[in-house]
């Protein structure tokens, strides 16, 4: 028992982490299903509707409904990736070829450590975030780690040692550099508004203004009055466009671009290694949706002017998580919706959009917001 008490602080984080990874991976597989279902709906098809698991699938009415919705399809997809014959082309650079899918997936799974997904009220009545690690640099950590994800794509393209994957890898690296800047600059006004400056109380002691720094929890708490997207629409738009580019989604999937590059960086990959790339793409989408919801759509706050009607107890925490997840699901749907609505950009259009439109707009947005904040601080002092 003593041993248990001593080791509990080390075991519990691992348990939480494993729980979160399983939920996250489940979400990934069902986003794949959502992609297939939404695309079929948009294109006037039926989509996956015949995969049936024995026993569960044969429950009278429920089983048929679940089969029709394709709820068992992710299992079939996963098993297919696992059990296919694993072909490694002879001309590839083996070490990096094996390493690339892992590098692609690992950053997406790492960033969720600092992603808050709900809130609870602790014993002292203080609202705390539900998150694996509540650090004040949350957003910077997400930007930093997710910027490592591109190496998976670049290495896959390079190690495949053939032309189309190589072009895909080179495109991915150029695109990532171009849009990372705009993304970071679009975020800054949000954090500048979320962090209130410090002030001196009547005894001359400095009271720290923002207790949160770059933490995502602080941004959500600052949106109790109004969601950021309502009064920072330009930042939201810039961030969203950069997010689409960073997650390599259509209309920005230059690295994949199957019309001119066959399959882009994963042309030479098959079965489970391809599956890892595929899961990584959806993991990035879910993370991106989560970040967008936290930064611009008020996180778990109920409606733009109704802050937090959830109670203090466990039930309230569950409701806040559920509302946050509902918003994330909407954003995932939005990602899929855009993919099947917009045509792909040409590569030079992607580059000129990033450097000639997004970046100047982001810089202008930052300067404008700085001036407004400075004026506001001067006038209200």
């Amino acid at each position: 028992m003593e041993f248990l008490d001593a080791s509990l602080p080390y075991i519990m984080p691992i348990v939480y982490a494993v729980l979160m990874i399983s939920v996250f991976m489940g979400l990934c597989s069902y986003s794949v299903l959502a992609e297939r279902k939404v695309s079929s709906w948009i294109q006037g098809r039926v989509g996956p509707n015949r995969t049936r698991v024995p026993l569960v699938g044969h429950i009278p009415i429920l089983g048929n409904v679940m089969t029709g919705l394709g709820l068992f399809q992710p299992v079939a997809d996963g098993l297919k990736f696992l059990f296919k014959e694993e072909i490694v082309p002879g001309h590839v650079n083996k070490g990096y070829y094996y390493l690339a899918p892992i590098i692609a997936l690992a950053p997406a799974l790492t960033t969720m450590v600092v992603l808050p997904f709900g809130r609870y009220v602790d014993a002292d009545g203080i609202t705390q975030p539900l998150v694996l690690a509540n650090v004040d640099l949350g957003m910077l950590i997400i930007l930093g780690i997710s910027s490592l994800g591109v190496y998976g794509i670049v290495l896959a393209g390079w190690s495949s040692n053939s032309k189309y994957p190589f072009l895909g890898g080179v495109r991915a690296s150029a695109q990532m550099i171009s849009y990372e800047l705009a993304m970071g600059l679009a975020l800054l006004p949000v954090f500048m508004w979320a962090a209130s400056p410090g002030y001196y109380d009547s005894e001359g002691l400095f009271v720290e203004g923002s207790r949160y720094g770059m933490s995502l929890f602080g941004v959500v708490q600052s949106q109790q009055a109004a969601w950021t997207i309502l009064w920072q629409p330009l930042s939201a738009l810039l961030f969203l466009v950069a997010l689409f580019a960073e997650t390599n989604r259509l209309p920005f999937d230059m690295a994949e671009s199957e019309t001119d590059l066959v399959g882009g960086f994963h042309t030479e990959y098959g079965c489970f290694k391809f599956g890892l790339f595929f899961v990584a793409e959806y993991a990035h989408i879910i993370m991106g949706s989560g970040i967008f919801v936290l930064l611009f759509l008020g996180g778990w706050n109920f409606l733009p002017w109704v802050a937090d009607p959830w109670g203090d107890g466990i039930f309230g925490s569950v409701l806040s998580v559920a509302w946050f997840m509902a918003k994330v699901f909407f954003m995932i749907f939005f990602f899929i919706w855009m993919r099947w609505t917009l045509p792909r950009f040409r590569y030079d259009q992607v580059m000129s959009l990033g450097w000639k439109i997004l970046l100047p707009l982001a810089v202008g947005n930052l300067v404008l917001n700085t001036i407004i904040i400075a004026l506001y601080d001067t006038l209200t002092r």
């Binding site: 004040d136 640099l137 930093g144 910027s147 190496y151 690296s173 400095f206 720094g213 770059m214």
Partner: protein, 180 residues
């Protein structure tokens, strides 16, 4: 625990840095350099300098090295640099490097055992001159305050240097494209 982690990350950083220098393949070198950067970031974390660690990953491992890799792949530099230690420049540079390393190790083991005691101290005096100074924290905030007050001049000069470098690059590359 922290000691063990320090040795692990220090070993990773040093090994990958060494591999980076000796590897004949340019892409291998770049990958080793990324690992070295991430290892350095881990060492920053052990020093509780989280902000520096994140910047290390974000700027060097995330952005600069992507650019390196892009250039290496685009120009295919592999085929030109197969002559390690053959030309005099590489030889003299490596000798100088090793000499520096020897000096570093000697000073660390001979006279470097009197490292200053670490203690928490205010980063700076209060800029407005009222109240007490801002307490030392590892948060991004204290970096920001000292950067924009005490170290304002170096900060501005660095920015100016970067601007000069950027303009230089634009001038050089423009000239090329006009001639061709």
């Amino acid at each position: 625990m922290i000691d063990i982690l320090f040795y692990v990350f220090a070993a990773i950083t040093l090994t990958s840095a060494l591999l980076m220098v000796v590897s004949p393949n340019a892409v291998n070198s770049a990958m080793c350099m990324i690992v070295a950067f991430v290892g350095t970031a881990a060492l920053f974390v052990l020093l509780e300098a989280y902000f520096l660690a994140v910047l290390q990953v974000l700027v060097y491992a995330g952005a600069v090295m992507v650019l390196f890799l892009f250039i290496i792949m685009l120009l295919d530099v592999d085929k030109e640099t197969n002559q390690i230690l053959k030309d005099k420049l590489t030889l003299s540079a490596s000798i100088a490097g090793f000499a520096l390393l020897v000096v570093l190790i000697c000073s660390a083991f001979a006279g470097g055992q009197h490292l200053p005691e670490t203690s928490l101290m205010p980063v700076m005096e209060n800029p407005t001159g009222e109240g007490i100074g801002i307490p030392f924290t590892t948060s991004a905030k204290s970096f920001g305050y000292s950067l924009f007050t005490k170290y304002m001049l170096p900060f501005q000069v660095t920015g100016f240097l970067l601007l000069a470098g950027m303009i230089g690059v634009i001038v050089v590359s423009k000239k090329h494209s006009a001639n061709s």
